[in-house]
Amino acid sequence: MTFVGTDVIMVGGLAKVTGAVNYAPDLVLPRMLYAKALRSSYAHAKLLRVDASKAEKFPGVVALVTGADIDGLNAYFGPVVDDQPVVAVERVRHVGEVVALIAAESREIAEEALDLISVEYDELPAVFDLMEAIKPDAPVLHAQRNETNAGVHREEFNFQLGGNICSVFRVEDGDVTRGFAEADEIFENTYTLPPVQHGHIEPHAATAYWEPGGKLVIHSATQNPSGVQEQLAQIFRLPENQVRVIVPPVGGGYGGKTHARLEPALALLARKARRPVQWVLTRDEVFLTGRRYGALIKIKTGVKLDGRIVAREVESFYEIGAYALNGPVNAKTGCYVSSGPYNVPNRRLSTYSVYTNLPPTGPFRGVGVSHVCWAYESEMDDIARKLRIDPLELRLSHLVKEGDVFVTGEKLVSVGITDCLRRAADAIGWKGQIEQGEQAAPSNGRSVVRGKGLAVTIKSTTTPTTSSASVRLNADGSAVLLTSSVEMGQGAHTSLAQIVADELGLPFEKVTTSFPDTDVTPYDKSTSSSRTTFHMGQAAQKAAHEIRTQLLDVAAKQLEASPDDLELTDGAVSVRGMPNKRMSITEIFKARFGATVGSMFGGHCFKSAGGLDPKTGKGKAAAFWFFSACGAEVEVDVETGKVRVLNAVTAVDAGKAIHPKQCGLQNEGSLLTGLGSALFEEMVYDNGQPINSNFLEYLLPSLQDHPQAFRSLLVETPHPDGPHGAKGVGEAALPPVAPAIGNAIANALGGVRVRDLPVKPAKIVAALSAATEKG
């Protein structure tokens, strides 16, 4: 019996329905203290003086750290560039920056003591608007640090010294100037997206302590145990084996927990307190800790009257907040796909990541790609409408196909995009809409119109990266997969166990998966970029294969058969076609070790190949590409601007669905997040001060917003390198959701379009009245 491709019961489900999961905020350690942060109320200021003497003496306060406590350590860190202080040093660059962190016997005491810290600021000019920030006279956030490239860890994009532009990435094909000259029609528009929240219901949370010998132990709800370990080792100047990162089940991440956030300051505090300290953020603090990039995208397309796209130029600006975090990487990820999954002979694509005095950002499901997809897919429908071509046909005639050379210069492999689009279109009953939707003009006194929309996307997984795994087989025929892949609801521990069970011929229940613990589990790049099934899946499969080889070798000798004639199923090796000539795993252990104890090990470190030349933008961007499509049908009230999504379909090329149900759940999650950002989600700031940082004023999609009908479709175009042909799924469905909904709205409104997300009712009403005035 094999398990890959079946919907086995999700690992950990029993604990989830009984409330027995121990999430990071649930941990209790003996003598544990509680942390609270004093945060900057200024968006940009010099720190003149931090006086914490009164707070330190407050009964119940055990330790307190400020920038002064970082002496002797590497004060700045970051996954790409070391620009973020562990605790604010000399300057604060956004509202909510941590100025001091207190450890006390209770949360209440810590909270009270915060009021006793006095801070003197000297306010500096700040910049919040993306396009203002790139002007030559804008206040500069990282003037000193920007003088050299020191502290830049990665070279895959072009760092900019000086102003607020952090990085630039460019790639070109053909001759864009000539392309525009040949065009019959030119389309040129600007699209914007506001910052939005990841919305993981579990806040960031961690607990840290130091062992007497100077080893740091930290339990954290992170998506990236190896990355957090690396950063802490660097900050505290420790060998990596003196930093132990343990990750329990995580209550939602969506990219928001991909990088070190609480861990550095908390570790510093725990070192001073000499006791375990726990830090759980409140919801308004989560809003100050991470979010999706705001963006502005300028897109220009040259088209022949027959519908052929001959040139496209895209300039995308990503607002990354006060610290780089992964901004440059994600802006690069957006760059080379910013003309879409289309063959365009002449194109010039550039992205900029830009610092502002807004709170920090980070990777967000669909990283960098949701931004440009909103622009290029909205643009496709505008072009189709103007040229009176079916938007489906316009897309189909330009979509990349198996073996096509992409703008990065690489050949595309496992390209199921055409199937995804056709199936999504069929599923929403697409009939070649160009004009208004089925219930075109409002009639019979009703003010409601309907429309349908489609959108597609292409996205890379971060490349090159490394994942390693080891598998241990016990003498009783049970096995453990040791992996640093984080279980955060996506089902990694289920699908990885399916892969290992099949490789070892074991019943699914005989395979368990460890939680990440860097003392035990080997290196993994991170649980992000929907890379786990592909990368960790291969590592796990190959690690299990090593054990398989050992089992067959021992059995071959005992059974006097060639290993090629043996099969391994249901916990036993037998000679093919001779069911009586068989040995159970326990018997093989006995034959090999002389006893029914011991362990067999297998291990594998998988590294994907590739990378792009930052000068040319050429190379290999992706170990595998995601392809997906979305179809949406909406109802719009033209009087109030209210939109209801009636029907939504996502179609994703999974390569091979290891666990089809979980793939469907990932797509449903992507759909809802996309729906929220399409219609209402938006973080709002007033002079850098967040003004809707709670779930009362910042709404997440509820069951009332969920479309009346939803379908997740899976296309399976096997990838030659993936385990069983599998690729990633997690975020693939997200980028096309907002443009599909936007296109459905524009379709319902006879081409009237809102280009700035979210498409709120007031914007629709304003766009309709502007269109009426224009006549």
Binding site: D7, K16, G19, Y23, G251, G669, L703, Q704
Partner: protein, 153 residues
């Protein structure tokens, strides 16, 4: 100042001294180590701290522990009896109506409250009743499937 309360939690009488400002959620988590109810938003919007008070769903982050005096409190830990899951838990497991699971206890308690109030809810009624329980993983279709099965039982 501590307030003495006597309350029934998952069928057991609990006599305790609570702080005046202590929420029921803090009491459950910090004093009783019942960690199944979790805080998501702290303002009674996300539903992940939902417990039943005399059979009705309540956001325990908004209720003072002292107000639980004399009440019957049921948390996620109180649903299974002698290791046997109750029918809502079984339906969630069967339909895989969870992903990360953080909102799941609250969602299960809300569904329990819904069925106590309306044994055969329509889909529209279920959507309305459960719209105060947010799931960012987006597992709503499966929650509705679980409710549908329970409503038709």
């Amino acid at each position: 100042m501590k307030i003495a309360i006597s309350t029934t939690i998952n069928g057991r009488q609990i006599d305790a001294a609570v702080n005046g400002h202590q929420t029921l959620l803090e009491f459950l988590r910090d004093d009783l180590s019942l960690k199944g109810s979790v805080e998501g938003c702290g303002v009674g919007v996300c539903g992940s701290c939902t417990v039943l008070i005399d059979g009705r769903p309540v956001s325990s982050c908004l209720m003072l522990a002292s107000n639980a005096a004399g009440k019957q409190v049921t948390t996620i830990e109180g649903l299974a009896q002698d290791g046997e899951l109750d029918r809502v838990q079984k339906a969630f497991l069967k339909h895989q109506a969870f992903q990360c699971g953080y909102c799941t206890p609250g969602m299960i308690m809300a569904v329990t409250g819904l069925l106590a109030h309306n044994a055969h809810p329509s889909e529209a009624e279920a959507r309305d009743y459960l719209s105060g329980n947010l799931c960012r993983c987006g597992t709503y279709v499966e929650v509705l499937a679980a409710v549908k099965e329970l409503a038709e039982a």
